[in-house]
């Protein structure tokens, strides 16, 4: 019974979905290359080792947060509280270094993870068990966490001089040419890519986002999966907070403000659907890179500073509406082909039957 089936390897390429996704990532990379080379031609300093390194550092913090956000977006939810988790975690870990100067930095990273996870659990409980829409729940915690941050900081500030040099090395030092932060982000992207692609648990994110009803019928514990997703998103945001401290050294109560929209934007530009079920971490990571490069290029090209945000937003809208347009067109084409096929089938059945009918007096 397996004899007639053609080898699956040949058929994998025929899935239009995977083709589309691959095309999406390819076109993003293409835009990226054109952008980098084009900007480099206009101003060669853009391609200097220092500038590329700075760009990569900025991007890697966003890209790491995108990993957690993607898990949540795949389930047709959203986590807007990431920026407040980042801010709170950054300040609290700074305070920890001030209080215990001998604190080993790996412990700080773990502390950030754990602290973020706790905040993520709050989001997860609200969404999965409290049945609060994710947009509302995480918008609420976005303000609550930030408010707590203000209450703790009270106008204070952490400075780089208060932090151990070994900790700052995490962002500034070099390991095989790149800072540790970049390696960490790459590891998370690759690790979670494998998790999402190759493990049953990973596939559940896609299943829940694609159709929650079908997920229940398939025996998936939807609430539990939702809770886990938000917890992971929170934990990763907590880690990003500690790395944020290492990267910038100076942290006050406003640290990370506005990050949440950059993170969501990066994922969406990278092909993660806000309506769930579609997207890869490879795409989301490239999306983060693209947004980072655009921001940097605008500076290099001396775009009017006041307009940079507007330009970024416009590019984002362009990317998303093109995507929506293409998928709508694909859906319409598929539907049309189906109704035409049905009409043809009906017609042929009708003529088949007409002949004997006429003979009846």
């Amino acid at each position: 019974m397996t004899a007639q089936t053609s080898p699956p390897a040949a058929r994998v390429s025929s899935s239009w979905l995977s083709r589309l996704l691959r095309a999406r990532e390819l076109s993003l990379i293409l835009i990226l290359v054109v952008l980098v080379l084009g900007t480099g031609l206009v101003n060669e300093r853009f391609l200097s080792a220092q500038n590329l390194r700075d760009m990569l550092l900025n991007v890697s913090l966003i890209a790491l947060a995108v990993v957690g956000q993607t898990l949540v977006l795949l389930m047709r939810h959203v986590d807007l509280s990431v920026s407040s988790v980042v801010g709170l975690s950054a300040y609290l870990s700074g305070m920890a270094f001030v209080t215990f100067p001998g604190l080993p930095w790996p412990l700080a990273l773990l502390g950030g993870l754990a602290f973020g996870a706790v905040l993520g659990v709050i989001n997860g409980l609200l969404v999965a068990y409290g049945r609060v829409p994710a947009l509302v729940a995480t918008l609420g915690t976005l303000y609550v966490f930030r408010g707590v941050d203000y209450a703790i900081v009270r106008g204070g500030q952490i400075n780089a001089s208060q932090l151990p040099a070994s900790f700052l090395e995490v962002a500034t030092g070099s390991l095989l040419g790149l800072p540790l932060v970049v390696w960490l982000t790459l590891a998370a992207l690759i690790g979670f890519s494998v998790y999402l692609r190759s493990y049953r648990a990973g596939r559940e994110y896609y299943a829940v986002g694609s159709s929650a009803e079908a997920a229940v019928l398939a025996g998936i514990a939807v609430s539990r999966r939702t809770l886990i997703g938000f917890t992971l998103s929170g934990a990763i945001a907590g880690l990003v907070g500690v790395l944020y401290l290492a990267r910038y050294g100076t942290v006050d109560a406003t640290a990370g403000t506005g990050l949440e929209l950059q993170v969501v934007a990066a994922a969406v530009v990278g092909g993660v659907s806000i309506s769930g079920g579609v997207g890869t971490l490879a795409g989301a990571g490239i999306g983060a890179l693209l947004l980072g490069v655009i921001a940097s290029a605008l500076v290099t090209l001396r775009a009017p500073a006041f307009w940079q945000q507007a330009i970024q937003g416009a590019l984002l809208l362009l990317a998303i509406s093109t995507d929506a347009l293409l998928s709508r067109r694909a859906a319409r084409a598929a539907k049309l082909a189906r109704t035409e096929q049905a009409a043809r089938a009906k017609q042929s059945a009708g003529t088949e039957q007409a002949a004997p009918q006429e003979r009846v007096p």
Binding site: T5, V12, R200, S211, A214, V278, A331, A334, K335, G350
Partner: protein, 531 residues
Amino acid sequence: MFPTTHNPFPIPDSQFPTPMTPTPLLTLEHARKRFGPVQALSDVSLELYPGEAHALLGENGAGKSTLVKILAGVHAPDGGELRLGGVLRHFRGTKDARDAGIAVIYQEPTLFPDLSVAENVLMGRQPLGAGGRIAWRAMSIRVAALMSELGVPLEPDAAVRGLSIADQQLVEIAKALSFEARVLIMDEPTAALTPTETERLFKVVRTLRARGAAVLFITHRLEEAFAECQRVTILRDGAWVDSGPVGDFDTHKVVSRMVGRELGELYPRGEARVGAVMLEVDGLSRAGAFSNISFSVRRGEILGLAGLVGAGRSEVARAIFGVDSRDAGEVRLEGIRIAPSSVVAALRAGLALVPEDRRQQGLVMNLSIERNATLSILGRLRRFFWMDRSLERASAQTWTDKLRLKAHRLTDPVSSLSGGNQQKVVLAKWLCTHPRVLIVDEPTRGIDVGAKAEVHRTLAELAAEGLAVLLISSDLPEVLGMADRILVMREGQIAGELSRAEASEEAVMRLATGTQSAGAFPLEMGSRGAA
């Protein structure tokens, strides 16, 4: 059309056990189920034997869906016994039913549109390779094997989004097969399929039967039941009516069993004084929903629009009223063309539509009765920039009095009313626009007998006052009792027209299911009726 004579899977008849086989696969005895005040099922029994296809027949609302949901573990019965292979079972959820070997294929499959066919079949049970990682190749091969067992050419790696409904059903069947389901329940699987797809589905059903599975087949198309099933069970008004081998039944017997009701005195309606043509619908078509719909309604006339659920009646009403766009055709009111796809134009011309789903489409549940009753004429109640509250109240009072609305205060939220009284508020809302044509879609669904009679009386009075009424209803006695003429729709086309004298439940059902003469294919009926 259905090749019972040249079966592409020639399996000797002896291989399909008949009721003579001593042990049924599934028995349901004296099942009961009540939802609030509604007794959905009372004393229903069913036996399914391995290798048989069993047709479950009944009118809309006869209790078929409730029965299916009990077997699927969605609802727990209030009473009765369910046995599988002789073992008593109590399902606490759909998972219990599935684990026991019962699979349900709904008319609209619930799948993951973004994932591949293979993942849809094996979600949560993907074959694993080294390190607990999903073995994608093995998964494809496994699903390809299932598909070739079913004899269908579905690519395991194709995305489900973009598959036709028929192909999606096959994915569901493949899933059932992978669970080694012994009982397959198909809820109107052919309603949305083309003849070719239907034939392919039946081939698959025969394959499943040859494997010893029992198939419970719910359909409105009687010729399918006769061609593909070995036994039938008929339900009416939530109760078991008859069971037996198909050979013991013919179309007439089945239809009279399904209907078999006396018309009560619910519908006192004298001879209508019908006037000039008011509404004309000419060649209305909308791809995928209905085609070439033409009819007219006169002053003082109630035109009934009957048909099975999904025949396209509500879609026609929505297109006439301009809610949905249309591909072809024209709507005229007293000879004047109404602009298409515009509710405003339809309202201005004097059309009103009381929609099917009053909670979702007809009412704003949190608003007061008077606010709801005057929503449609807000513009007229305006004085400069403010609402004239006294005018609003007066208008609401006039119509609710006329409709004999039973309410404590008009300022109470409309959600505090009973279903029948809610329906009167919807009627009031549209009647205060002084329409010349009123379209009512399922006006008495889910309301009790008393309120039903009130709605009927109102409609009769309105018609007597010269309103043209288009009454869409799945409640056959209602259509027969109220309408001066009845149009019957099937599969998006007008299957035929019956005068008050010709109309009977049997006649309507025959047109609606397309079983006028034995062996005639439903599509033929459609084209003949329209001619």
